[in-house]
Symmetry: C2
Subunit: 159 residues, 2 copies
Amino acid sequence: MSLEIRKSTRDDVGTILGLIYKLAEYEELTDMVTATEEQLQETMFCEQPYAHCQLAFWNGEPVAYALYFFNYSTFLAQPGLYLEDLFVVPENRGNGIGKEMLLSLAREAKERNCGRMEWMALDWNTRAHDFYLNLGAKMLEEWKLFRATGESLDKLASL
Amino acid sequence: MSLEIRKSTRDDVGTILGLIYKLAEYEELTDMVTATEEQLQETMFCEQPYAHCQLAFWNGEPVAYALYFFNYSTFLAQPGLYLEDLFVVPENRGNGIGKEMLLSLAREAKERNCGRMEWMALDWNTRAHDFYLNLGAKMLEEWKLFRATGESLDKLASL
């Protein structure tokens, strides 16, 4: 049995989209997905990519993806690596693939001179919290996320 | 009395750094700031900027900054605008400058074809929460932020 983790290339957009749909299925949110291969090409494999991806293959089959982008610390004037999605297909869990991907991303963060790596987890997912805390990460409990989207963003932009 | 809001240029790094220090003073965190003008140049005014800034001037004096970058929605394959810092110097509060900057950022988000705009607030800052909710934003209470930084990031990268 062999695990390979590597950065994605523009030839992988079909694989990435397939895994995005598997995540959406798992979360029962497939009707929220509007992403297409063309949009992934345009936003991730362009001159100024908005996001990046690492893929994991188990015996040659794609089994996980980690999608990330660079955020920024003002006090450090330095980028950070923000992990937007880390998804391992259910049938390949328990093999340490998620942990290997997190470590691979930490190495990527160091290579890119990032001062930190951040991600979010749902508050009920205490199993994930324990996993992250055991790896040395901290939970920043004092922050609340706000979002303006769709109509509320349109309204703000037109005020 | 006149308010001007505009995008920053590389000539503004001194102004931006001055405002970052004013934020740090306000938060009593000046010893956390290691940013220099050179680092701001290298990370924000380069070929692939990690972050962007809008500045507000009141009667020609810089009184506020909004520092943002682009995050990413996997399901939409579309960037979002993430507001990292929005700071108005204490002596110029109550003039609606913060609100004008938020609206300016919402317009920037639409111009850049962003599907959403996001930011965080400290959980005790209920005055800010009410302000954001009144503008139509939603609070996403179910998410917890995790961070690996310094030694814990080094450790992850070396495992």
